[in-house]
Subunit: 198 residues, 2 copies
């Protein structure tokens, strides 16, 4: 095998491999949304993706690994972190992005089943909690930038502020079923800002 043959194989192999990865993760997401974690099997995920079980197991050793890789892919649906230069606009952007994620994406559709599965499977609980914690921290920059600009008091707790913004949306969509209108988002952002400014 010459170096150029390797390069050629890579050139041909890479896209096929990337397409296969995407097909597997999309199939896993679909399956998870439909049946949740308990009934989810590697066999069903392979069949849905149209790949062999060996191909699937080469990439993901366990159902947990596959499900968490699917969660990572879904996490990308949350959209970019806003950076408008004004904290009110940034928080509104964050809140709108989170509402969209909860109500109009597979990530939102998978969320309730994931919470139920977390409560039953400690290994999933640890992996998903770590994942949420990383995603959550990515939003903190909106608060730290605003604090640096002097729009929020020094010492503002980003974790408290981000929870106060995201949690009510989560609660309305999945628990109380109350609507999350644009007006509600504005009230929420203004109330959270007033709270942070004491």
């Amino acid at each position: 095998v010459t170096p150029s043959e390797v390069a050629e194989a890579r050139r041909l192999g890479r896209p096929r491999s990337a397409a296969c990865d995407a097909a597997i993760l999309d199939a896993a997401i679909e399956l998870f949304v439909e049946i949740g974690y308990e009934g989810f099997t590697m066999e069903a995920a392979a069949a849905r993706a149209g790949v062999g079980k060996a191909t699937l197991y080469r990439r993901y050793g366990t159902k947990l690994e596959l499900v968490m890789a699917a969660a990572q892919r879904l996490g990308e649906q949350k959209g970019p972190i806003p950076d408008t230069g004004a904290v009110r606009e940034d928080l509104l952007g964050l809140a709108r992005g989170y509402r969209r994620m909860l109500t109009a994406t597979d990530a939102g559709r998978a969320f309730p089943a994931m919470l139920a599965a977390k409560a039953r499977h400690p290994e999933l609980e640890r992996a998903h909690t770590r994942f949420v914690s990383e995603r959550r921290r990515a939003s903190f920059v909106v608060v730290t930038r605003a604090t640096e600009r002097g729009e929020l008091p020094a010492g503002t707790d980003p974790g408290l502020l981000v929870d106060l913004l995201h949690a009510p949306l989560f609660y309305r969509v999945f628990v109380s079923g109350e609507p999350v209108t644009d007006r509600y988002l504005l009230q929420l952002v203004d109330s959270v800002l007033a709270g942070a400014r004491g």
Copy 2:
């Protein structure tokens, strides 16, 4: 049958019937926490409660009715609405009660499975959303009393305030896995109060 015989039958029947009701609902709660809504059957609930299927069906015509009656019973674990005369103490009491419900009761243990089931079954979604809405409104009196006392501005929105208090606890316990410490509860209450006072 004389009136006194009816009264006697009632006297004997009532306690047995109440005990049977409690046994059925407790069995339904246990079963729901263990296996969720999908695998839940009337047969299994009757067997767990030690009653016949006919006895169960006389009380609850469907699985949905039984599960919602169990939810009502669990709802009683939330504890009374505080009325200390001071809004900060009342909100702290509400927050502590909600934390306790989420982390230390069967209601909390059943919650994640209920959210997953709601997402799959529109009839359960409607019934549970109505139930949450009633429970949620019961807390509003803390806000309306504080508004009447002049501790909160006229026009304070009880729904927004109660969401801002409850939702972050829910989010921490079931989504982010961050701890809900006493210090966090105090920060949360003070931030929500500052937000409401503008």
